[in-house]
């Protein structure tokens, strides 16, 4: 038996490199700096580019420019940096630039409890720029998933020509753990059997600037097919509808969950990211005490995998939702389910991971 010791930052880096990432720009911030150092060290070795820029605005600006010139781009930050990414995420949406952004969440607001684990930015990722257009957000619960979901994020970014977030956190990125051999490698024997993302882009592929006699225009303004600014309401309506629809209409393709359902269970525990691990530990405890309980891990936070969630609710009377914020995903579930299902949050915003015992307690409540 062979194992290795790894932290999430290394797993994410390997995922990005194995996905073909050849451009990274970022600005140091704990708990995302590990990714910055790994990428800057590794990229020049494979002929890519890794940069530390003067701030987060410049970092994401460099990424978007490089992507328009054909790079497969990546950046990572935490809440304060995501705040500065905001305007350019809108630009990436408008220009339809594939862009993977890892957000290693720490406890805010502002500088907050630097640097402690949190999950307070999952709504922020969804609504992080003006206009309200959809983005894709994936969230790993452990180190192998950090690797595989990073790779998947690149596939989704390319397919949808859109920003894709990896919603991770301080604990997952900075804790070193032993993992099975090659759990984070292209040779992973134990790779999750997730449905493959089709390689061809939805709509027109991005054609990069290159010296081949063809000319391309990219703009953050509402534009026609030639990439020129337009004020024509019909063209604008059509384009904006497409921006929203390309993701929303393919929610099924993006949706990714892990359902661990038990027959006869009336309680479902639903979680994501680091809190899903506490959930898993709690489920073990409950089942070893002969309690019936189902569990649902959400990997694709946005767009919300509504159908998949609803499919897990047969016989469920109560949903417990552990998350390290004040109930940001609970409010989404609330509007999904019928009012006769009771919703119960287990929430912590005090730097300490939600304990399995707290979830067990909520079960007995």
């Amino acid at each position: 038996m062979r194992r290795e010791m790894l932290d999430g930052a290394a797993a994410i880096t390997r995922g990005a490199l194995d996905a073909g990432c050849d451009f990274y720009a970022g600005y140091p911030i704990t708990p995302a700096s590990g990714i910055l150092s790994h990428m800057l060290r590794e990229l020049p070795k494979v002929g890519g580019v890794g940069l530390q820029c003067e701030d987060e605005i410049s970092s994401i600006g460099h990424c978007i420019g490089a992507a328009a010139a054909g790079a497969t781009v990546f950046t990572a930050t935490s809440g304060p940096g995501l705040s500065l990414y905001s305007e350019n995420i809108g630009l990436a949406i408008m220009m339809e630039i594939p862009l993977v952004i890892a957000v290693s969440q720490r406890l805010g607001p502002a500088t907050g409890a630097a640097t402690a684990v949190a999950q307070g930015d999952i709504q922020f990722m969804r609504w992080c720029t003006s206009g309200g257009y959809p983005v894709i957000v994936l969230s790993p619960t452990n180190i192998p998933e950090s690797y595989h979901l990073t790779k998947r994020a690149f596939q989704l970014a390319k397919r949808f020509r859109s920003p894709v977030f990896l919603a991770t956190d301080k604990e997952t990125v900075m804790t070193t753990e032993s993992i099975a051999e090659s759990a984070v490698s292209t040779k992973a024997k134990n790779a999750p059997d997730w449905p493959a993302i089709p390689a061809e882009p939805v709509g027109n592929p991005l054609v990069p600037f290159q010296i081949d006699g063809t000319i391309h225009h990219y703009t953050g303004s509402s534009h026609n097919k030639a990439g020129h600014i337009t004020k024509d309401p019909e063209i604008i309506a059509e384009f904006n509808a497409k921006l929203a629809d390309k993701i929303v209409s393919r929610t099924a393709e993006i949706s990714l969950i892990k359902a661990d359902l038990q027959k006869g269970a009336k309680t479902l525990i639903l979680s994501y990211g680091i809190s899903a691990r506490s959930m898993e530990a709690a489920v073990k405890q409950l089942r070893s005490a002969d309690k019936k309980v189902s569990a649902l891990t959400i990997y694709s936070l946005w767009p919300i995998p509504e159908k998949q969630i609803l499919n897990c609710l047969k016989g469920i009377r109560r949903i417990i939702i552990p998350e390290m914020n004040h109930g940001q995903y609970r409010r989404e579930i609330e509007r999904l389910v019928t009012p006769d299902i009771e919703l119960l949050g287990v929430n912590r915003v005090d730097t300490i991971l939600i304990t399995p015992e707290e979830i067990v307690e909520a079960f007995y409540a």
Partner: protein
Amino acid sequence: MPEIVPETYIAEQNLPYDFCPGCSHGQILGALNKSLLQQQLDPSEVVIVTDIGCVGLSDKYFVTHAFHGLHGRSITYASGIKMQNPNLKVVVLIGDGGCGIGGHHLLNAARTNTDVTVLVFNNFNFGMTGGQHSVTTPLNSITATTALGSSDAPMDIAGTAQVNGGGFVARATAFDKDLPDVITKAMKHDGFALLDIWELCTAYYVARNDFGRKEMLGYMDSMQMKSGILQETKRPGFQTRYKALKQQSKNQDKLKSLLLETKYASTLDKPISIVLAGAAGQKVVSAGNLLATAATLSGLWASIRADFPITIQTGFSVAEIIISPEPVLYSGIIKPDIAALIAAEGKTKITRLTKEMDQADTIYFAAGLGEVDSGAKKIPLLFPEGIVKSIKKNISILTAAMLVQELDIFPFKALREAVRKIQKTKVAEINLEILANFEENK
């Protein structure tokens, strides 16, 4: 020479310009066209990156590639494009407004000497939004937002690029006959090139102030600012330097896995949590890594989180280790099974944890730490004198050795193997000797 060189780089089907009559923006675009003609560039070799403002309308007037981004950020996109494809010629068209909101990017692009050419359309105010004051608005000028006259010292854009190391810096006016030549020089320069081009916004700045071509030149004189090329250095552009880094890194080892073969057996049947609490400089975290690695070498699963202040060379240093027969799910520690208090800083830091501990748990404590407020069993951390030169300096590795011996969940050999596996040769040698002495003395 490219196969097809156009007769003009202006997209004539999109003319006339949308600018106001008399606006100098069109004049500068004309000069850029002349420069591109001088250089005989393939249009697909050129990327024009436009900022926001009236100047930002310019992308549609060229038959080259174009990128129209956000206010003040054009230099960052341009630099990214050039990093990805250094064969492209990348030209930024930005206003004085863009140089204000994006000033940080401008001065850092000068510092890094990123190989883009920046043409500043400096008309002393925000044209597009209605003639508000900008960073270059001259003192006492009337603008939409300075009814009493501007009282802020104007920013010298060319000077800013100059003092921050910009490779090629020039000051010019939109009316200079040699403007195309200077643009060509700037574009040929390897490194950051900036032209601060003074010009007229007829709709606002000119209309509100007694300011025409003549006054503009007079103002330049009165500010003791010169026109022409102000700086030309030989420092290679960032992209050229980065190419060298790529070349140099090519044969270096890539990120690879450090595989840990299960060599030893363990009797552990439930998770055990250990907290090592010491001070900066005591190598607490590396001792924690050794324990976690040794456990992994013994077929167990481990997690380790390090905690230390941002000011890394002072204060506490804490390692939280969980060792388990199953993969670790909950990596937090609320009530440790074992705590080793190695220094006062660590002791204070983990008070919350030690208070939770009871008789089932054990606290090891170094000499001189005083009372420990906990219901746990307490055992002093004692090592025979002479076992190493300085017990104090090596207390973390000694504590790890002691824990391996006391807990007996995997063989001592596993710890030695961990040292060999993960520590640098020099450190490993020292630590292996310490471990040997420890074993002899036990």
